[in-house]
């Protein structure tokens, strides 16, 4: 009696198990026959890509006027606030007074002895003391900011661009402390009142995030050259540092170039033709 009931129990249980498995299997087969297409994410066809993006700045071609144009073009396109801009009281009432130490900048002019403190020779050629040098994020190969970021908001993209995900930035400013070039700025306040003309094609930032040059990733994605390159009248060239045929590598081969604070081992990707 015992044995028989056990046997029949197992039979029933087996049939039940098949029954339970049948429905998902049927559904799977049914969905398969319809051929569920999956969404695909891809790059634009016109995209400019590189193994490692780099920049070459020809200091002989950089004049004060060119510097001004480049900085203006970059900052305007990326909605970088200018704290000298007069606030529109109607749109932004009760804006507190500006602290001019809290500037935000992506690319700016710097003197030689500030840009290259380790290259200050005793009898440096006179011309270097007065030349305007353009400095920006160096998109370092060993970027210290990337290592410092606790949330991976700053990261190194596959193509060598050191990029920020503003969504993830918690505003701890470790990256600013880690960057030896001062390339990063913190938004101590809402930048919007200080943006003269907001470019609708690029977001603004919000209070409490760090920002810096993104090598115009949004333009490279569309197959366009960065704003600084366009405004530089040939003084700035960007290209693939790992491609020996690329324009930047040809320039590096033909000219004597220096990099900022090379001894720190960050391997900057911005080269200056002297």
């Amino acid at each position: 009696m015992m044995e028989k009931s056990r046997r029949s129990f197992l039979k029933v249980a087996g049939i039940a198990a098949i029954g339970l498995g049948a429905a998902p299997a049927m559904n799977f087969a049914a969905s398969d026959s319809h051929g569920t297409a999956l969404a695909v994410k891809s790059k634009n066809e016109a995209v400019l890509s590189a193994h490692r993006w780099g920049m070459v700045i020809d200091t002989n071609k950089i004049t004060d006027e060119v510097v001004e144009n480049i900085v203006a073009a970059c900052h305007k396109a990326h909605n970088v606030p200018d704290f000298n801009h007069e606030v529109d009281e109607e749109k932004f009432p009760n804006t507190r007074p500006v602290n001019h130490k809290q500037e935000v900048k992506w690319i700016w002019e710097e003197e030689f002895h500030n840009s290259f403190p380790d290259k200050e020779d005793e009898f440096l050629a006179e011309k270097f003391h007065n030349l305007p040098f353009l400095v920006t994020c160096n998109h370092c190969k060993n970027a210290p900011c990337v290592k410092a970021c606790p949330t991976q908001a700053t990261f190194k993209r596959e193509d060598g661009i050191v990029l920020m995900d503003f969504h993830r930035c918690i505003g701890c400013r470790f990256c600013m402390a880690a960057c030896p070039y001062g390339s990063r700025s913190f938004n101590f306040r809402d930048p919007r009142p200080f943006i003269e003309e907001t470019n609708p094609n690029f977001p603004t930032r919000t209070k409490g995030v760090v920002e810096k040059c993104n090598l115009c990733a949004e333009r490279l994605a569309k197959g366009e050259q960065p704003h600084c390159v366009e405004a530089s009248e040939g003084a700035i060239v960007v290209g693939d540092l790992e491609d020996p045929e690329s324009e930047v590598r040809v320039l590096l081969n033909e000219n004597y170039t220096i990099r900022r604070k090379q001894s720190l081992g960050t391997e900057p990707s911005v080269y200056y033709v002297m």
Binding site: A39, K41, K43, H167, T198, P203, T204, T206
Partner: protein
């Protein structure tokens, strides 16, 4: 002797416990707003997913898009239904706002009703609001 006190106490207790119900009965409640399809969105009749899936999962898609654009530099999204989109909230015609032109009636209507306060617009700009 204490019967009256107990009964009044009970009545007050029951009323207090049921307060959400009778409060809703005596006040007028707003019906949930329907997101309005205006402009391009009305004529195009195509979206990333169908209506009900978009309602439930648009935030997950936006999150996925953000990672894809920022981290992998992939900016084109070819949806399962074959249509392709520019993975962007507010820039260009093929972005979310490019089609759903009226942010107030499309995004804000439901978000306000459900007391959701996404911080998208602290950085992203509505092209219609820039003068």
């Amino acid at each position: 002797m204490n019967k009256n006190y107990i009964i009044t106490g009970l009545v007050i207790f029951v009323l207090a416990v049921l307060s959400p119900f009778w409060f809703n009965m005596i006040t007028t409640t707003q019906a949930a707003p329907e997101p309005e399809l205006l402009g391009n969105a009305k004529t195009q009749k195509k979206c990333v997913l169908d209506k009900y899936e978009m309602r439930a999962n648009h935030m997950a898609i936006l999150d996925e898009w953000r990672d894809s654009v920022v981290r992998d530099a992939d900016r084109m999204y070819t949806a399962a239904n074959g249509h392709s989109f520019n993975m962007s909230l507010s820039t260009g015609e093929n972005s979310c706002l490019g089609c759903h032109e009226d942010k107030t009636k499309f995004c804000d209507a439901c978000h306000t009703y459900t007391s959701v306060d996404p911080y998208c617009w602290e950085c992203h700009t509505n092209p219609k609001e820039i003068k």
